[in-house]
């Protein structure tokens, strides 16, 4: 077997991922044919408004979709190995060892009944097979790195003895304890105060880049994405609207939805007198329009958008699911 690290295959490859929920009204599609790749050491931001399917995409990758939801199609490969069809036991091994997780509420990732030391040491021992003493040393070093003051003493505290920001640092330490290749961070800073938020983002970014771990950062906050991500994937109604380098997406959005989304963020410079607003709201999953899901709200809609679902079209460095970037259309306009 070849060394996976020298393989040309990307670290993570998601192809046509579809997540569905059977309900009494029929099958709901929460994630609809989403595809993207993630290279080693890359930070990919997954943004979208509530109900866009961003968290669901994260859950699908780590095999934590709650029944009755299920992966209804597509594949997920991690280092070339398919992971979307693993048994729960095999998936648990992947989750601890190869993929770390950071959730919005630190208390969901930490067991309140055990000290930080017990939880960190257990994770390190299970996945790295080192002695207990060494595991403890590593744990203290890790806590030190994530910025917990007096780590060697505080390691024996229980989760409730830490503040919200400190707890999230502990969770980051726990996520990185088994030296995973990929960290999935789902709204890691949403529950925190702004002044703490910036610190947590810095820690996450620094530690992952030191370890060359890739990050999927799921958030609704464009500011966090702008400061952290290398590439951004924008989701709308469970579909990929646009994916590309962060600077392109933020400063030169191509999809009309992304453009509207960026315009709706009030600027700290406050030059705008009125915010750009996208009329209406994201459709409910029971009621997704035919063609492009965004067409009823789109200012640049034309007849094709209502009939055909747009494919991902390459435009510069980005890929955009919008018929405006179809070659024929571009020619017709010019």
């Amino acid at each position: 077997m070849s060394d996976p690290r020298t393989d040309k295959a990307p670290l993570l490859s998601v192809r046509d991922l579809t997540v569905q929920f059977p309900t009494r009204g029929g099958l709901l599609t929460a994630v609809d044919q989403v595809s993207f790749d993630l290279a080693d050491g890359e930070v990919l931001g997954l943004v979208g408004e509530s109900g866009a399917g961003k968290s669901m995409t994260g859950s699908a990758i780590i095999g934590l979709i709650e029944p009755p939801g299920r992966i209804g199609g597509g594949t997920i490969h991690l280092r070339g190995d398919r992971i979307d069809n693993l048994s729960p036991a095999e998936m648990r091994r992947v989750r601890g060892r190869k993929v770390g997780m950071v959730f919005q509420d630190p208390l969901t990732s930490l067991n309140p009944l055990f000290t930080i030391a017990e939880q960190l040491i257990e994770t390190i021992q299970t996945h790295l097979g080192v002695s207990k003493k060494e595991a403890r040393e590593r744990a203290v070093a890790l806590l030190d790195e994530v910025g917990i003051p007096a780590a060697s003493r505080r390691i024996d505290d229980y989760p409730h003895q830490f503040s919200g920001g400190m707890r999230q640092r502990v969770v980051i330490a726990l996520a990185l304890a088994a030296e995973p290749d990929l960290v999935i961070a789902d709204e890691p800073t949403t529950a925190l105060d702004v002044s703490v938020q910036a610190q947590i983002i810095d820690v996450l970014k620094r530690l992952c880049s030191e370890r060359n771990a890739s990050v999927i950062l799921i958030t609704h906050d464009m500011g966090v994405i702008a400061e952290t991500a290398d590439r951004v994937a924008v989701l709308y109604a469970g579909r990929l609207a646009e994916i590309g380098p962060v600077r392109d997406v933020i400063q030169n959005a191509k999809h009309p939805y992304t453009e509207g989304l960026m315009g709706s963020i009030p600027s700290i410079k406050g030059t705008e007198s009125r915010l750009v607003q996208i009329p209406g709201a994201m459709p409910r999953l029971t009621n997704i329009p035919t063609g492009c899901a965004f067409n009823p709200r789109c200012p640049k809609v034309f007849d094709r958008c209502e009939k055909e679902r747009p494919a991902l079209l390459r435009e510069g460095q980005s890929e955009v699911a919008c018929w405006l970037y179809d070659e024929e259309r571009k020619e017709a306009v010019t």
Partner: protein, 329 residues
Amino acid sequence: MSDPLLQVKDLTRIFDVSKPWLNRVIERDEKQYLRAVDEVSFSINKGETFALVGESGSGKSTIAKMVVGLLAASGGEIVFDGQAINPADTKAMAAVRSRLQMIFQSPFASLNPRWKVKDIIAEPMVSFGLYGEGNARVKRVEELLELVGLSAADAAKFPHEFSGGQRQRIAIARALSSNPEFIVCDEPTSALDVSVQAQILNLMRDLQDELGLTYLFISHDLSVVRHMANRIGVLYLGALVENADAKELFLRPQHPYSKMLLDAVPDVEMTGRPRVELSGEIPNPITPPSGCPFHPRCSIMVDECKAKMPPSIETPIGEAKCFRPEFQL
């Protein structure tokens, strides 16, 4: 200064956060108090938007509740158009109630799920006995729905049939139904997605222009506050550390905490502005630091800051409670 519509002077609120009596006796604990709001003073002029920003534990929501009379103050006074606000004085409250309204944070919890939209919006009219003749209330409800961008047909629906942004519009329609002059907005968009937030903020500004409303706007989000406010008060652990003109505050903040807050806002425009390394967390408000509450996190702290709370001083852009404000450095 033109005529202030609302004046708040030395407003203080202390909560008893002691454990139950028996636990205190057994564990030999003292009674514990939390100074959620500590001698806060500000005034709001007619037609203006004053914003209070702060992180968790800053006391911003407590101030909101005291201003509208949902919570009694422990000290200080609130005067609305010459009339003191005091929940204990039911007669005086009855006189001002219809002129004050509030928009709440959660579009889900703020509407009674068992009530139809028309009953929700009409409730203030019923309570104040307004638009009593014939079907004037029905007409008024329909007008209000259209004013906030919904349709008259929505009156017969229940709240669960609407999205978060639409519910917040219903809440705004309810707040407007008694023709108030002053509205306290307590984090009105923090539960909403950005694109919906933009709709609601635009609507609130349009309504302000149209109806001449005065807002007390409470938020933790500086960019939202920047967009909405004429003047901004920055709260830290219950104390109003800076009170300044909105535009100026963003250009030259005087208090080190204001500076830190501004620094913490993510750079969406990707201007590449340099960022000061942030440190520390908000202390437990039950055991606040001595002197200036911000001193343990302050980079320019001097001994004096530990000893006593700085008095409010005039700055080029307003007022600040700091011994070493930016303009003196």
